[in-house]
Symmetry: C2
Amino acid sequence: MIIDCHGHYTTAPKALEEWRNRQIAGISDPGAKPRVDSLVITDDELRESIEKNQLRLMMERGSDLTIFSPRASFMAHHIGDFQVSSTWAAICNELCFRVSQLFPEHFVPAAMLPQSPGVDPATCIPELVKCVEQYGNVGINLNPDPSGGHWSSPPLTDRQWYPIYEKMVEYDIPAMVHVSTSCNACFHTTGAHYLNADTTAFMQCLSGDLFKDFPTLKFIIPHGGGAVPYHWGRFRGLAQELKKPLLKDHLLHNIFFDTCVYHQPGIDLLTKVIPVDNILFASEMIGAVRGIDPETGHYYDDTRRYIEASSIVVGDDRHKVYEANARRVYPRLDAALKAKGK
Amino acid sequence: MIIDCHGHYTTAPKALEEWRNRQIAGISDPGAKPRVDSLVITDDELRESIEKNQLRLMMERGSDLTIFSPRASFMAHHIGDFQVSSTWAAICNELCFRVSQLFPEHFVPAAMLPQSPGVDPATCIPELVKCVEQYGNVGINLNPDPSGGHWSSPPLTDRQWYPIYEKMVEYDIPAMVHVSTSCNACFHTTGAHYLNADTTAFMQCLSGDLFKDFPTLKFIIPHGGGAVPYHWGRFRGLAQELKKPLLKDHLLHNIFFDTCVYHQPGIDLLTKVIPVDNILFASEMIGAVRGIDPETGHYYDDTRRYIEASSIVVGDDRHKVYEANARRVYPRLDAALKAKGK
């Protein structure tokens, strides 16, 4: 089985975006604020949006199951207050849940949280609980910068985040550390902010001792870990300067990288440098880079091709990257699959 | 000849740091403000600080010439106002100039600028002019984020930066795009902020059309280009989405990467992905990562070893990376060397 641990509902029916625009207009003009029940998206619309897009490409590319969360760039936690984020997260999470019900063989949901800059992360817990207990979510997306590029929250090692970690440990769910749209003109969202956040999150963990407090806490750093594997020597050296243990002992029981790296040399670097047990297959399609690479004639984000062409990830290692690691990092996914005899 | 295009005066005599601390104290307590002439560093002290450190390692490692600029993390443009930065830049640039006079075969200076958050970059021009005309500087360090991790300046493509670019073009000097200390708790200076800035600067150039306005402007992106070469497929794909030309046409006449990547697989990725004409040898020693890699028994930042061990950079390509590219990107360095018959 091939599990893609990084998919977002980037193809939701237009009505969702229109509702969101009305919600945003309602922040400055309360009279324009839309009711939640004014958003009506039918099962047929959901089915069509998936069958024509993600599911079609999964079939073409040969992946079986996607861990599916709301569109990352649409989380936009910096917009409005907690109530705005809370309503928006509930709507988006419900849609991913409905997709998982319509296509139970192919989609398993992961939740966005109703984060809001300057608001205690503990306020996210009711939504998290609902998503795990009622919607069967197997993971969450945690935004280390709900300000959208101003980085006004404390690092992930700060105790303000601990209530979320306590709940993650209790449920045994991992977090993908994933920012949203940048509203800072310096940072292009998918070309700078996403990758910077990946590097930043890793370095926050490296500088701290978070996993001493939470030995079973698990983070997936997306986009191949940002700059981290490319600079693995630098990070090993920095850990040494900071008198931390070797990275394999300090971080690699808890931190995992996905394979959203959109060319063969990048995947080869990732798989050469990072232990295979820490790499989870992912494509983030249909996402930041939707085109066809003129150098290969294939989609940039068809990451399975890079794994298939790898001379590093072979034999049982390929099974680990495609399936076994995801089942280990997402125990609730593993349990759900086992319950179906898979 | 082996030219290291990325060296900072990280080993300056302690008196420099002590003077800076007094300068910082003087911001809130004007009575404590030190006079510039209260800082006295003798030629013998300069010689010792270099001979025991950078020059010793250059001899051991076999590099001949370092493009030498003030310590990056000490620039700290976020501290104080323009006057504070201006005084501090003048002192630091003078020291690098003196080092270049004491060791003319081994050090050529590059300037820091007296940038200050919210202050027009054009105010940096007198210092730049002095450094080029009187001190023989062959390049500058340009900080895209003088706020130190708050990213409150506009992107490098913004017209506010154009006065600096006009002067760079006039003098035919390149800029290394290099941030300084992070005062944002989210960003570790050398483990996150530096790499993020590299990625950010590249993506700013990718999104814009700066090099249409300045076809001969040249940037060196340090630290191996941050996350860029590792995600070269992503950036090629993003350029495509943004309807930009191929990266080789859009950016690679103007953007160059150094080799400050501290492990063999990283250097191999860099040299495989980026055209050899765009790679300049550098080590940034004695810098962020000063230790010995237990996996190799050699210094992490002894980047010459990685080039020597490369099966990608061979023959004439090695000469390009070590010398010819630097002479092309820094024409004033080339002219100075030629004047000496080199």
